[in-house]
């Protein structure tokens, strides 16, 4: 039991150290703008279609469920407010972050892990450069930038999807629906959603890069690292979501 706690504390310590090293590299030259752009393209543009689909479907399903649920109590009029608020505050950040953790986090750890077992990470060091600067910083910055933007897009698509069902199933006029959405959503909701996602992005990329560097046991290790990242980041996202939500409520509500 004590040894397990010790191992977990050690992992947390090493991830924190990686975070500080990344911060130091971000604030000193050289900064690899080209690599950052590559990562943004791969992460952001590569996840665009799946984000749109997931956001849209979430909006469809939530409106359907809330619509019929509230209809029994004559509360259909509240659907736009409830759907848009829950999408912006929770559904879009969580779904998009979990999606990115699965799609990008596992890919990052597998890529760095494969580089580690084929001595490419050692080669970066042997050539007088820092693996943190070359590999970690572009990935962390790209994830922190891209994830909030993807989440905003996902939320937007969710609201559009919600409207389609609100109109098709409950004959709700577009003007009423969007007016309710716009009067319900506050700046704090959008800001809170983006801030949460920036944090989730930081955690996904840090954990993925950390585990990539720890990969040792050849191709088997690469697969294990990818699984480790998906499981751990999902847990971290869900747990930290509770505390961040509480914090945001205390700050803005």
């Amino acid at each position: 039991m004590i040894s397990t706690v010790k191992v977990h504390l050690q992992v947390i310590g090493e991830i924190t150290e990686l975070f500080w090293d990344s911060l130091k590299c971000m604030t000193t030259k050289p900064f690899y703008w080209g690599r950052l752009w590559e990562q943004i393209l791969e992460l952001g543009m590569g996840s665009l279609s799946i984000t749109i689909v997931i956001g849209f479907i979430t909006g469809l399903v939530m409106t359907l469920q809330f619509g019929y649920g509230l209809e029994k109590f004559g509360g259909t009029l509240y659907v736009p407010a409830i759907v848009s608020l829950s999408i912006i505050r929770e559904m879009a950040p969580i779904f998009t972050s979990l999606l990115i953790a699965g799609r990008i986090g596992s890919g990052m750890s597998a890529e760095i892990g494969a580089m580690n077992v084929t001595q490419q990470v050692d080669a970066i060091r042997a050539l007088g450069t820092s693996p943190v600067r070359v590999l970690v910083v572009p990935r962390v910055v790209a994830t922190v930038i891209s994830l909030p933007l993807l989440t905003t897009l996902s939320a937007f698509m969710g609201i559009i999807g919600g409207y389609i069902i609100a109109y098709a199933e409950f004959r709700m006029p577009g003007g009423f629906y969007f007016n309710k959405v716009l009067t319900t959503i506050k700046f704090a909701d959008v800001f809170g959603s983006m801030a949460k996602c920036a944090f989730f992005g930081l955690m996904i990329s840090l954990l993925a890069c950390y585990r990539g560097f720890q990969t040792k046991e050849g191709t088997l290790g690469v697969g294990t690292a990818a699984t480790w990242v998906v499981v751990r980041t999902s847990i971290v996202i869900l747990i930290s979501d509770f505390f961040l939500s509480k914090l945001l409520i205390l700050m803005f509500d």
Binding site: M115, T118, Q119, Q120, D122, A123, R125, A126, L127, G128, T129, S130
Partner: protein, 245 residues
């Protein structure tokens, strides 16, 4: 002769396995030192320790008389521009081309303009006879070719010391000769070297001096002639490959 690199009483243990008990030797300017020994005696670990990829448990590693074994990673970056490592597998970056791999040190450590870098990269690729594969990805070339590109990348900045980690392992005789030619060119360009190998005939052609590692210590140090003349049963069995080794 000037000692440019010196190891004093270096010890290294992995978990509970003692690899080096007390390893001491030095490298003179302009020479290629053959580092021999059976598999598992930690020859590659010595090279990795020299450039700080492994941390030694005790002892000292001196470069031009200054200790480098205790330097933090950031300060080691400048040492690694002067002491370069040619990995056994080549360790090429597989997401970029042969040209970009060799150009990497120039982009990182020089302020040369792109046309100048291009000229220098092609010149080095010609030395390793890989100029026609400049646009290939590492996965598109053979293992021997990858080793040569790895050598090209490590000699790009004309380092003072080149650490060769089994560059001839698994190569056919023609490729071995090509690698030895590259090492000769590197030496002519001013790079001293430490050549870790099991390839005794290749080592005998290129090395000025030899050391043999046994049981975590230096068991022999001398020239090829000293080695051949040695009456030590271990040295003789090592050279002939008999079972006593």
């Amino acid at each position: 002769m000037e000692k440019i690199l010196e190891l004093k009483h270096v010890a290294k243990t992995f978990d509970h396995r003692v690899v080096h008990k007390d390893v001491s030797f030095h490298l003179h300017r302009g020479e290629i030192l053959g580092l021999l020994g059976n598999s598992g005696t930690g020859k590659s670990v010595i090279l990795r320790s020299i450039i700080g990829l492994e941390v030694i448990d005790s002892g000292e590693i001196l470069y031009h008389g200054n200790r480098i074994d205790q330097l933090p990673e950031k300060k080691l970056f400048s040492v690694r521009k002067s002491i370069s490592y040619a990995f056994q597998s080549g360790a090429l970056f597989d997401s970029i081309s042969v040209f970009e791999n060799v150009a990497y040190p120039f982009f990182e450590h020089t302020k040369l303009k792109e046309p100048e870098i291009e000229k220098k990269v092609m010149e080095i690729l010609r030395i390793v006879k890989m100029e026609e594969a400049w646009d290939k990805m590492p996965s598109e070339i053979s293992g021997g070719m990858q080793k040569r590109v790895g050598l090209a990348r490590s000699m790009a900045l004309e380092p003072e010391i080149l650490l060769y980690d089994e560059p001839t392992a698994g190569l056919d005789p023609v490729n071995v000769e090509m690698v030895l030619d590259v090492m000769r060119v590197a030496k002519a360009r001013g790079s001293s070297g430490i050549f870790v190998t099991h390839d005794i005939p290749a080592a005998s052609k290129i090395c000025d001096r030899f050391i043999i590692i046994k049981d975590g210590r230096v068991a022999f140090e001398g020239t090829w002639q000293n080695m051949e003349d040695s009456t030590d049963p271990f040295i003789q069995s090592f050279l002939t490959g008999s079972e006593k080794v």
